[in-house]
């Protein structure tokens, strides 16, 4: 089952086949709470295991990366998104299809750099932090750092090296959550010697 979405972006029409949203939306909510709560338990455990927040951030990024390299296949299997022609298209797919599919939110894509290789994803609400408050002694903790790893890992599997980090975080007092993504380079596929 699929629902066809027509979006016009600067005169160019793109067709995305969004996965069918079931009428039992509360079920959707239920499952996202499972993920949110499990993520919370994970971060709590990490904070207990590691003394400083930097280590926790690194671990979250690593775990996110591992998830991302697998998630990209799941994503490509579920959506019929074809190859993206440029970074702008990638940004739109991430914001409008991927985030919507997995977290149920649609961040906005803004703040493009003049060279077109850097942009921000602005999340009005972040489902990961639904029931979360950061205690005072964890000021350096980037709670949702898993997302950075996921994006990095997923894009690496489609031959894009990117740098992802949080520019703003509602848990640390900012108004919105902002993820800054920077395109570093295209990863060349390594063709084994002897293959043409």
């Amino acid at each position: 089952m699929s629902r066809q979405g027509n979006r016009g972006t600067e005169g160019k029409k793109m067709l995305w086949y969004l996965p069918f949203i079931s009428p039992s939306a509360s079920m959707h909510l239920m499952n996202s709470e499972l993920f949110t709560l499990t993520y919370g338990a994970l971060v709590t455990q990490l904070c207990k295991d590691y003394e400083n927040d930097e280590e926790v951030n690194k671990q979250l990024d690593k775990m996110g990366y591992n998830m991302g390299v697998r998630l990209i296949e799941d994503f490509l299997a579920r959506s019929s998104v074809g190859r993206c022609h440029d970074f702008r298209e990638t940004a739109d797919v991430i914001a409008k299809v991927a985030f919507k599919m997995y977290l149920g939110i649609t961040p906005s894509v803004t703040n493009w750099s003049p060279a077109g290789d850097e942009f921000s994803l602005i999340l009005e609400s972040n489902p990961l932090v639904d029931f979360v408050e950061l205690p005072d002694n964890h000021n350096g903790l980037i709670y949702s750092n898993l997302l950075c790893g996921v994006l990095r890992g997923a894009l690496e599997m489609v031959q894009m090296a990117v740098d992802v980090k949080f520019a703003q975080d509602t848990l640390r007092g900012d108004n919105v959550t902002e993820i800054r993504m920077k395109f570093i380079k295209r990863i060349e596929e390594n063709i084994p010697v002897g293959d043409e």
Partner: protein, 158 residues
């Protein structure tokens, strides 16, 4: 829905993490299972609170079990428990013939010994859920053939 995939990937990463940090600290398998189960417990407590906010009071223990088998299992694992057996003296056996978290692994004997790792979190989930419904219990799980598994719940009289 796609969230299921997200949770499954996170769950797998969780298991990897707990076992990797165990390797470095030289913990045995049992400690890791306990850790995963405790995490599941906390999550289960929170989840059941959200879920039963508007539900009517449960008549008795069996009612609670049926809720776990039908509504709770459906919302967490997308299907109902296939078989519920009890001896009416506080022991319940929940059988799931195609457990979601094991479904991605190959059937047969190859990964049977690793299966308990993937059940620990869910055991905790059930135990936590029951605990916040006022039922103290011990939950264990066993796999004889993938991906079917049995959860055994022993009610503890408080």
């Amino acid at each position: 829905m796609a969230d299921e995939a997200l949770f499954q990937f996170l769950h797998n990463e969780l298991i990897q993490y707990v076992y990797k940090s165990a390797e470095q600290g030289e913990m045995e398998n049992g400690r890791c299972i306990t850790r995963l189960e405790n995490m599941g417990f906390r999550v289960g407590q929170g989840l059941i609170e959200r879920f039963t906010k508007d539900t009517a009071r449960f008549k008795d223990e069996l009612d609670v079990m049926k809720f776990i088998c039908k509504d709770f299992w459906t919302s967490v694992f997308k299907k109902q428990i296939d078989n519920l057996r009890t001896n009416h003296q506080g022991i319940y056996v929940l059988q799931d013939n195609k457990f979601r978290l094991l479904a991605q692994m190959s059937g047969g004997k190859q990964y049977l010994e690793h299966a308990p790792k993937y059940l620990a979190f869910s055991c905790g989930l059930v135990r936590g859920g029951l605990s916040n419904l006022g039922v103290k219990s011990i939950v264990t799980a066993e796999v004889s053939t993938m991906p079917a598994c049995k959860f055994q719940i022993m009610i503890q009289k408080m």
